[in-house]
């Protein structure tokens, strides 16, 4: 008989909390102009290191205080969602497309295609990723596009490995043979029969990768290798705040919290998706 589908309806708190924070970020990025109370770049030496609104000595309207140049921290955090999300989306997409394609080919065809691709992945993964990314950006010059390229170039292997393993498993299933018996060609079987079954794994990995991309961008900003203008990124804000953490902790803590929550949200969203997909597909 047709069985009920309880797992489909089970609520997953981490999934929804993660999704809510990610949605909030997107909202902030799109409407940054309307949402930020002050000009993110405006310096005012009269307003240096103001504390957040609930502490003594706060200035009304500067909810999260100001940094050492008197710039509004809340406005800067809001604007910094833009580079963070752009890097997360573009870099993850590039890594995902390239890695998944190679992984699918390796896993589905096996044989020499698999041997070449797997060897390539092994060699790639022998490089320490943080060093490699710093090296790459140093060579390409500090810019958001360099950060994106560096992340994609390093992280495609994650997608490749997972998709390869999944495709290999799917290839052995009888439905692939049935599709062959029904006269479908290899490409169509790969794209229409196998890929949809690998897609959940790709989606989960994509979410995790977005979190990783945000961290890497922050690290590169922190060591001053991301965008070079005054425009804020969480990483550069953290770098600024680190020096004056004893006089004005908020300059460090708020962007750091934001970064932490974002990375957590992406990973929890990914894990939540995984939970949701797994019992259905297996």
């Amino acid at each position: 008989m047709v069985e009920p589908r309880p797992l489909h309806r089970r609520r997953s708190i981490r999934l929804w909390l993660g999704a809510a924070w990610i949605a909030l970020l997107f909202f902030a990025a799109v409407f940054a102009g309307a949402l930020s109370p002050h000009d993110r770049l405006a310096q005012d030496l009269m307003l240096q290191t103001l504390p957040p609104a609930w502490l003594p000595g706060a200035e009304p309207g500067y909810y999260l205080g100001t940094d050492s140049l008197g710039r509004d921290i809340l406005s800067r955090i809001i604007y910094a969602t833009r580079p963070a999300l752009i890097v997360a989306i573009v870099a993850s997409t590039a890594a995902c497309l390239f890695g998944s394609l190679l992984g699918l080919v390796a896993g589905f065809f096996g044989g020499w295609a698999d041997r070449i691709i797997s060897r390539l992945v092994d060699i790639w993964m022998a490089f320490p990723p943080v060093l490699l990314s710093i090296l790459l950006v140093a060579v390409l010059g500090p810019a958001l596009s360099s950060v994106i390229i560096a992340i994609a170039v390093i992280d495609w292997t994650r997608f490749c490995r997972v998709v390869r393993a999944e495709a290999m498993q799917q290839r052995r299933m009888d439905y692939v043979d049935s599709a062959k018996v029904a006269g479908y060609g290899t490409l169509r079987i790969m794209a229409r029969e196998v890929l949809p079954n690998v897609l959940p794994a790709i989606v989960v990995l994509f979410s995790l990768e977005m979190g990783i991309a945000v961290i890497v961008e922050a690290i590169l900003s922190f060591v001053n290798l991301s965008i070079s203008t005054d425009d804020p990124t969480w990483g550069s804000m953290i770098a600024e705040g680190r020096g004056i953490v004893h006089q004005a902790w908020w300059v460090l803590v708020f962007p750091l919290t934001c970064l932490f929550l974002t990375v957590l949200a992406f990973s929890q969203f990914g894990e939540g998706l995984k939970e949701r997909f797994d019992p259905v597909m297996r």
């Binding site: 008989m1 047709v2 069985e3 049935s178 029904a182 006269g183 897609l199 259905v280 597909m281």
Partner: protein, 302 residues
């Protein structure tokens, strides 16, 4: 008796890098329209290999070294990939062993059933849908429309196997290969599915190659039977002869080890020692023959 629709002639298959070891040794089987041919043998005997050879889905590690597979007189090995796929797709269908992995987990039953019909028979979407729904009813699925909308994981094992049976018969193939279609199911469901396949086969007049390791099943639904051992067909006869006068020691051993539906009290009898003796002699003999062949081949090469 009409001319056989499926004719396998001296088919030998081996591992590409397996030395002389063969997975099929000159196996010949013929199945006429409307006939049910049982293929029995223990696990690993090569039963599925025969099925796979017919559909051109042998594992990559395996190659055909001699023989022919003919469908309606056409030798499949002489066709191009494309022609073969088309001929096989129109004329033959497979009911696989594991109903869980034989359906694509991410596609609804509707798409899985109708895609084949529109593709192979060139039916319109509406015709294919009507045909598939009709077949679901024929395999006694009570809510065809609901099953149509389901994903495989939403169906029980027995239901999935019914869907696969319906799919196999939907294109009105002239040959169906059922590869242990009941092994993965529990005993009560097994009987229903078996009965269903036999009924469908009779109604549609399909040639059926029925793979099983259960001689009781053979007794129930087959007219002819081939006993496969280590890729070699050691006995091939009609079912009555097989049960009344099994010619081969291995067949007798197999029979002794099989519970019988028709005479349940006999299945409790212990396997007689002389049968086991005969079997081990047979195995030793076969091994000797292969060893001699190997030596001879080595001698020729030297």
């Amino acid at each position: 008796m009409s001319a056989p629709f499926l004719k396998i002639d001296r088919l030998s298959v081996r591992l590409r890098r397996g030395g002389e070891g063969r997975l099929l040794r000159q196996a010949s089987i013929a199945v006429a329209p409307g006939e049910v041919h049982g293929l029995v043998g223990e696990s690993g005997a090569g039963k599925s290999m025969i099925g796979r050879a017919i559909f051109g889905i042998l594992p990559r590690a395996v190659e055909v070294i001699e023989g022919a597979v003919r469908l309606g007189g056409t030798d499949l090995f002489t066709l191009s990939d494309r022609e073969r796929r088309r001929l096989v797709g129109v004329n033959a269908a497979l009911i696989p062993q594991d109903p869980l992995t034989a359906l694509n987990p991410s596609k609804r039953i509707e798409a899985q059933m109708t895609d084949r019909l529109t593709r192979i028979l060139g039916l319109s979407a509406a015709e294919a849908k009507a045909r598939a729904l009709g077949l679901l009813e024929e395999v006694q699925i009570r809510e065809p429309a609901r099953v149509f909308r389901s994903y495989p994981h939403e169906l029980s094992g027995g239901m999935r196997q019914r869907v696969l049976i319906a799919s196999a018969f939907a294109a009105e193939p002239r040959l169906i290969v059922a590869d242990e279609p009941t092994t993965a199911l529990d005993v009560t469901v097994q009987k229903q599915i078996l009965k269903l396949i036999a009924e469908m086969q009779r109604r549609h007049g399909t040639a059926l190659l029925f793979v099983t390791h259960n001689l009781g099943v053979v007794a129930k639904i087959c007219q002819r039977v081939s006993v496969l051992y280590a890729g070699k067909i050691v006995e091939q006869t009609d079912v009555a002869t097989l049960f009344n006068a099994p010619a081969h020691a291995y067949t007798r051993a197999l029979m002794a080890a099989t519970p019988r539906y028709d005479r349940p009290e006999e299945s409790l009898a212990p396997v007689r020692p002389e049968v086991i003796e005969a079997l081990s002699q047979e195995i030793a003999q076969t091994d000797n023959i292969w060893a001699e062949a190997r030596l001879a081949a080595a001698g020729r090469r030297a």
